[in-house]
Assembly symmetry: C2
Amino acid sequence: MDRSLRMTEPSRNRVGTTEKSFTILELLQREDGAGVTEVATALGMSKSTVHSHLTTLVECGYVTHHDTQYHVSTKLLRLGGRLRDQSPLYQAARIEMKSLAAETDGVVRLYLEEEDDATMIAQEGYSPGIQERHLGERTPLTESIAGPVMLAERERSGDEGTGDDSTTVEDATGDDDSAADREALDIDDDVRDRFDRIRRRGYAVETGPEGSDRTFAGALSRRDGTVMGALTVTVPGETGDPLSAGDRLLEAVERVELSLTSWYDSHATFSPKHSWHVHSN
Amino acid sequence: MDRSLRMTEPSRNRVGTTEKSFTILELLQREDGAGVTEVATALGMSKSTVHSHLTTLVECGYVTHHDTQYHVSTKLLRLGGRLRDQSPLYQAARIEMKSLAAETDGVVRLYLEEEDDATMIAQEGYSPGIQERHLGERTPLTESIAGPVMLAERERSGDEGTGDDSTTVEDATGDDDSAADREALDIDDDVRDRFDRIRRRGYAVETGPEGSDRTFAGALSRRDGTVMGALTVTVPGETGDPLSAGDRLLEAVERVELSLTSWYDSHATFSPKHSWHVHSN
DNA sequence: CGATCCGTTCCGTATAGCTGAACACCTTCG
DNA sequence: CGAAGGTGTTCAGCTATACGGAACGGATCG
């Protein structure tokens, strides 16, 4: 309509070469390995260019070069793993994740909140029937139970939250509580009711298709109210009574939050450099 | 000494820009976040250059930009996670990892063999006292029990293995079986004896410092003898009798290998494109 | 033995990344 | 209050450098 759209972002950003390398890397990831010409034709680049980028990536250790195929190496996993292991949220949660998974015999997952998205950064336990979730998978806060729990918890301590989430409730219309196509006004009330329920109970429940499994989710927040992430436990079908799983989750959440705040109290003396994702203001 | 050394590798490789970007990324990873000038002074680059690279990395989603600090994002974890989840070794092992961890109440780890290194790609269970291992951590095959197990298994099916490992036994002198400072000749015999023991028993045992914990390791290989990785279970101090953990590991190894070969039988019909790390010859 | 694939190398060229200086902004300190 | 020093950001020019096309080895297939 108006001329506010500039196609392909004229990109006064710089460094298109790096962007190109990452595009190649992501293609290798998607295609699960590829050859030079395959990449060149797929991305519309010349073979020599692709070759240069690939050899560079190999020398940097991010790509392996067996025979005629290039694959992404495990270096990405290592970097991402170190990032995860350093995060205080993971440090505080892993013991509880283990015991929670053992006692409920379910799948426990840890989500990290970043910029209106929830990222799964750790998983403990495994059951073939449970819905698959990939490590590092990033979903909007309005989807898949772990997000709404964080949104509901955000509202509790005022609306300032991160600062730009004055429309948190309205944004959450995308939840799939089998009520995807109601009228907008009803949805707002419905979502608000749901959030109230979550806040009152401390956790949220989501039943899988045909009651195959149940997922309990609780938000992990610091003492000052800032939401850091969420803890989730999914129990298959008719294992034990589901209520105890919810109570057990609450215990775990409290213990993780306790460990988290104590971590911050000990490490925040002279906050080292960036106080770990705490958007200070 | 001789002129075979060319300083800094004149690099007829190409694409130094990409190399620069990755250097910045790795610095951000190590320093756990940094600012523009911090990176510039650390790497000896101008501020504007660093700024360009950082904005590009942010736009690509690999770096987040809060306040004045740049951090690596979870995108690396996502890419690495997908790489892991796609690997048949992980697919075949995760069920057994879960049950093995539950039954032994120990920490189960899965290692992937790649180019004379062992990379830890998955972990199930957690215990605070157990030796830390980071996701994606890459150690030489001569270290830390998981490697030697694979080396011993390699020898079984002839020496051709990957092709360039004619010195596998001699390279394994770095094992820490509390005999780090013996004479070279003895070590060779010692290592050979150790390999024989491993092959006879099917798994290897490593006792932690002061008997704090025990680690059992077994190699995972295909039916044709090619070693794919290793499975490891670490049990704390005096939990149960250690022998049953070893036996339980053997069961798990067999089941994983079974699942692995069946996977290859079903997917290798018209080998899709690269037959997944099987160095075909 | 051509015919086709593949990956790799080479080189000229113009593009695009690098630099240093100037800018805006914020604390802090004199 | 206004220098002083610390950020991150922008701009314009120069030159290094990434790009592309063509030519080169090496397989594999008919």
